[in-house]
């Protein structure tokens, strides 16, 4: 543990840990804590339809007001935020996992399998994701947050696959891989003992990007009404406020807080990814 802190301190002094990374992780931590600690101080039933007086502005009994279905916005926000984050994380894990495997296969084995993976991922990268996701999500009868994460993950692997493939190709040519090969390591040993550790930073970096992209897609699908409508999520809150024309009727406390929360999540992820680039690539830090 001491070594960990010493390492951290050295990295900080060398300027590899930028303020961007600290602020980004700080915002994300705050958002996560909000969802973890909040339930201890609120009554979950207040977030159910018809639990409180509808259309109350913020203040008094209701910190953030209530929506026109009689739900307390503050309680709703506390339960919706972790659900949205959860979908992003699940989709991120699956997408990055799939992308890593495909990228490793493409980079390690080359040939026609590489060509197929490359053409498919390059093509899918240019497609408007929402179009394909709408077809998939629209045909699922029972939607849940987990299924939603799966749907979004189906288009969340291309960027990781591309990055991993490029890294594998470049690392394979390095002298230490050559040495390992001469020492009699087989292709799998080389892949897992020599190549994998060196592409970890890239995998972590694309994980942050994939989570961000997944949350974006999830909220987009939910705003179209394709989400699990009975679950409390930030995207569904936006959807219901749209359905009740909350913007035109001036209920800013209905759509405002979820937007702020979503913005905080995205800003946190964005700063983390920029900051992490500088951490993983010391050449950038010196600028």
């Amino acid at each position: 543990m001491n070594r960990f802190w010493a390492n951290l301190r050295r990295n900080y002094e060398q300027g590899r840990i930028s303020p961007l990374l600290i602020v980004g992780l700080g915002i994300l931590l705050a958002v996560v804590l909000f969802g973890l600690i909040g339930p201890f101080f609120t009554d979950a039933t207040n977030a159910q339809v018809g639990a409180v007086r509808p259309r109350r502005p913020p203040g008094g009994d209701y910190l953030l007001g209530t929506d026109s279905q009689g739900r307390d916005m503050w309680t709703l926000l506390i339960y919706a935020t972790p659900n949205t984050l959860k979908m992003g994380l699940i989709a991120g894990f699956i997408g990055v996992g799939l992308g890593t495997v495909l990228g490793l296969i493409a980079g390690q084995f080359g040939g026609w399998i590489d060509a197929v993976i490359r053409v498919i991922s390059d093509s899918l990268l240019t497609v408007p994701a929402i179009a394909i996701l709408v077809i998939i999500a629209g045909n699922i009868d029972r939607m849940s947050t987990f299924v939603m994460a799966l749907v979004v993950a189906s288009l969340g692997w291309m960027f990781t696959a591309r990055t991993v493939r490029a890294q594998v190709l470049s690392i394979r040519e390095k002298a230490y891989v050559e040495v390992a090969r001469v020492n009699g390591e087989g292709p799998w040993e080389i892949l897992f003992r020599e190549v994998m550790p060196n592409i970890m930073p890239y995998i972590v970096a694309s994980f942050v990007g994939t989570v961000s992209g997944s949350i974006l897609a999830v909220i987009g699908l939910e705003a179209l009404g394709l989400g699990a409508l009975e679950e409390m999520t930030l995207g569904n809150t936006i959807y219901w406020s749209q359905q009740s024309s909350a913007v035109l009727r001036g209920y800013w406390w209905w759509w405002g807080p979820p937007i702020v929360m979503i913005a905080l999540i995205f800003i946190g992820l964005f700063l983390t990814s920029v900051g992490f680039d500088r951490f993983a690539n010391p050449r950038l830090a010196r600028r």
Partner: protein
Amino acid sequence: MSKEIVRYIATRFGQLLVVVFVAVSVNFIIPRLLPGDPVQTALARLQTSGGAANVDIQAVSAAYRARYGLDAPVWQQYINYWGDLLTLDLGVSFANFPEKVSTMIGNALPWSVTLLAVATLIAFSVGSLLGARLAWPTAGRGIKSLVPFLMVLTSIPFYLLAIILIYFFAVVLKWFPPAGGVDTTRIMRLDWATTYDILEHAFLPCMAIVLGNVGFWALGMRSQMVNVLGEDYITFAEAKGLHPRRIFVWYGMRNALLAQVTALALSLGSVVSGAVLVEVIFNYPGLGSLLYVAIRGQDYFVIQGVVLMLIVSLAVLLFIVDLLYPLLDPRIRR
């Protein structure tokens, strides 16, 4: 034409074919993975949701079964599906029964294309200029303080910016209309009043897309400029005694823009995804709203048609960008 450029075009064309093929196949396969046939399922859902009480479900269903040969083997259906698409037959709407999906898309398409093209062009050029200005070696504190602001703008999804814009500029200040493409009472004519009306309605949606994208282009351009300005040929140009502004614009910006165009091609997909939602929020009469209404009403063929339209037209557009790219970058032309 050299061998390389033929190969380049062939690869890009191959990519276009893959996208179209995948899009059509996904559109065909996914609804058929479910038990029952797609039309039956769609109509059953339509009935339960009460979306189209005035439609004679049985008649429509029978007509579809005969028309699309849904009793035929799957491979036959697949071939028929391609045949229909190639003759631009996308089926008819359930909700507005005899109306053809292709007509509905044809009506919506100009709205979407114009909005998206104008907004993307503005965001791209303003963003790139701003980014170049930010990379200028003696950029002042004032302009540098824009960076965090741009970072915040890029990270917020732009359909959420749209909600905020509507609230402030249409609900509170009432400067712009909150929704729609034109005044509902307007008879479309080619005159000033109509043009003004259209522009007035398009302003906020356009602003939402521009604001949501400008940061992306500015930040991208800035980092590209920083890279380019570190190149040897810039030092060489300085050593020759060229004017700094000339070096900056003709040696720096011109090269940095190349990467920006590549990024444009790669990001158009997500811009379109976002623009679909902006249209929904503004109830703008484009493809996005058409898709939204179709999803709400379980209007099966309309959803399919719009989705195909989005994917295929974007793929064609990207192919055109790819064809223009050698004109910008002589290294590919060789």
